[in-house]
Symmetry: C3
Subunit: 341 residues, 3 copies
């Protein structure tokens, strides 16, 4: 289904890589060192897999200079073999055809603007005053509400919903089931009943962001919820209203940031981790998986919470003692240096 | 896109608020104290933001009587400024047009009843014997299965799925991607394979409930899964089969209640928190974020589990000791008063 | 809406069960012991509910031989009453009509193959080179991308997305909002920006798997993400790229497995639990709810992490001490036997 192939020499030239061995070897796909065949490209980045190299049947392997010493096969030499592999493997990725034009089934408000260079797939609806720019792709079943902008080269794979006042920059990639611009969770208790607080803000997504499947990003209450450029969100993430995430930060699956949390640039939020509302996390902070950020973080570094995994019987014994920890500390005269830090 | 505007006097009269200063000032939108302009309405609820008031360019600010003392601008006086602001801001909320009628693309079973006063959007399907009542709005791509009821004034924003036997009361608001009435997770192991337990119950949602984006509520195994009136669920929440949630309770994003859990009235479940199956949580219980409820709770109050956030290095040292906690306790003669409570 | 009914004798014969009492009693549905009426079937599996039996108005009750002693009503006798009940209750489950054939609104690529015995509902799209086999049901709004296979007897209830290169075995049941085959979260940092790593693998799902509502399963980076046969996933689960899950394992709601994790056969992963990437969990491991698996597990058994639920005031006192745990241990001369296990 994609017949493209390249010789080692062609790849070396195209990606400015060094070449050892037979440059005429032709590859038509990628594989792992362990399983790749003679017509496949593989990579060796982590020295601990060096041993797999000798047994590998891969036609071409991209690796660092040092690793290639004494390797009899065809090697492409890169300072960062993984990045080089990533770029080359894009040549072999089958892409669905998404020709410019509007599928006859699409339901588009007369006041919406759709570029003739955009792709609008089947069962897509586009609301009032929304704009779809050149090269944008709206896959099957996408719902674009009112007053939204889908920037140049954005790809909404399928069944993506932009509820209202969602503005996407350029080249934003959004996976199926993601919902951007739904009401934030704004409630006030009045006379024993919940009073809904209208959510009048929007969502602003910077260039080159990626948003995972079934991830939700609520719109702001008054001002916008903001992702700066090149933010990467995995699947099943929840971003509350008025959250601000700095450029180049990444969040792993099932993590969450509550309302008005501010996360800096180049942060890494682990899977299932949570950031409470109205906190600030500075640049270059890593939060390990399933940790809960309960206070603002002002120093770059790695932060964690939680307890280690144990067999259930040991865990029960130790966990029961957690309830006595303060008493235990006092018995050890630990009472003095208590630190709520 | 919405040209409505109101004078301070009009707002004071309409919402029964006090008025200080120039009643003829006209506002056409809302803003924060810090950023609102002369044509915007802002609010001051928390005294700690009083300082922002002096620098605010907001045309009108709603506040408590005491806060208004010496304020030279135009103030609306409310006992609860936040609630008053919430109600007034609804005046400025742009609402998508959802005229009564059925979009020609909708696929509706002949045995379904759709009120002529309901809105049925594009790519909506409605199954056998389902009923859509007056004023209900089904946004683009909603899927209503068999034997469902969508009550008066309900709004299903877009891409909401009611699988089967889901009954919504009046004015229920459901955000995109929510799935109500899917099979509960009922399994029995038989001869080394899973046997699926049919889920014959339904889902019953009370009046004025709100259900967040990508939230899932399974139908009951034999009887129904039930949300009483005015329950508020945020995004990405999982409600297992036969869960019962009392009136006016709210759950924050990514929280979950497992099968047959019973949560009382006026409970607040924090983000990412979990309630195990078959437990009972009494009225007026607050569970803090990412806590796990492993036993029934019979006293109102606030409950928590977990450990504080630390820099990773300190955390590793302390977490390793958690495995020795029982031994440590015994060494401090803590062995005697162990309490599994 | 489903008028089927059966006599106790008919059920006894059909399911090879013992019969005590009047075999002519006819049931047309199921109920709980507590609430079932004379025309309903109930079950008694757990002896602790024996007391409910006496007060039950159920027309027929399935139970173990011993429980039936002295029971005056009509009893069906089974070694495993719960399994027997599950099978019988399937007789009473209303199933939506899904006749073979393709809804006129469906958008199907000319290169796709759809069996004349498959059901394709409204607003379904099917991509290039995909195959839908006999007896498969694609409910409203399903999106099948390129190069997918939906095996015999699969049921995609509604709004299920198979992005690309997703191969389903036979009788796979997938609930609404599930997304299979989206890009894995593959990123490399290069010159201060994220470089996307193409995801060239697919997803392979074995026979008889069940996948819950809004669950996401990413496709592999190079090789496939794999679920073996009879794997059962609840709602809101995240499965990262290249995860491998062994046959007959089950994961409860909101749990997750990160990239390249390998989970064995007959494992039970509790709700909200997480398994970090590149770990191996052997067969027959149970992980309790909201535990985090941070290391490979090589012994079958039950494993846990976390701390017990406490009232918030006690929790704050004890949790603060967690930060001093290493110091406390040293004071008790626990320093020596530290065990990072």
């Amino acid at each position: 289904m994609n017949p493209v192939s390249y010789t080692a020499s062609e790849l070396a030239e195209r990606f400015a890589l060094g070449l050892h061995g037979d440059g005429d070897i032709r590859v038509a796909g990628v594989g792992t060192l362990a399983k790749a065949g003679p017509a496949q490209l593989a990579f060796l980045a982590n020295p601990k897999y060096r041993s797999q190299l000798d047994g590998s049947a891969a036609g071409v392997v991209v690796m660092r200079e040092d690793a290639a010493a004494g390797y009899p096969g065809t090697a492409l030499i890169a300072r960062d073999p993984y990045s080089a592999f990533a770029k080359m493997s894009a040549l072999f990725e089958p892409k669905p055809e998404r020709p410019a034009g509007i599928h006859p089934s699409a339901a588009i408000d007369p006041s919406a603007e759709v570029s003739p260079l955009a792709h609008v797939g089947p069962f897509v609806s586009i609301g009032a005053r929304s704009r779809i720019e050149a090269g944008a792709m709206l896959g099957p079943g996408c719902v674009i509400g009112d007053d939204c902008i889908v920037g140049e080269g954005c790809e909404l794979v399928a069944r993506v919903t932009l509820v209202t006042r969602v503005r996407l920059g350029r080249r934003v990639l959004i996976h199926p089931g993601a919902v951007l611009g739904a009401d934030g969770f704004g409630l006030a208790m009045e006379a024993g009943r919940w009073l809904k607080v209208p959510q009048l803000g929007g969502v602003s997504i910077g260039d080159d962001c990626e948003i995972g499947a079934n991830t939700t990003i609520d719109r702001g209450a008054i001002e916008d919820t903001v992702l700066e450029e090149d933010v990467r969100l995995d699947n099943q993430i929840q971003i509350g209203h008025n959250v601000h995430i700095g450029a180049h930060s990444a969040m792993a699956g099932c993590s969450a940031a509550a309302g008005s949390a501010k996360i800096g640039r180049y942060c890494l939020i682990g899977g299932g981790a949570g950031v409470l509302g109205h906190l600030e996390v500075c640049d270059k902070v890593t939060i390990t998986a399933m940790s809960l950020v309960t206070r603002s973080i002002r120093e770059p570094g790695e932060y964690s919470s939680g307890t280690p995994l144990m067999d259930n019987r040991s865990w029960r014994k130790n966990a029961a003692r957690f309830k006595q920890l303060d008493a235990i500390a006092r018995r050890t005269r630990g009472g003095s240096d208590a630190d709520e830090g």
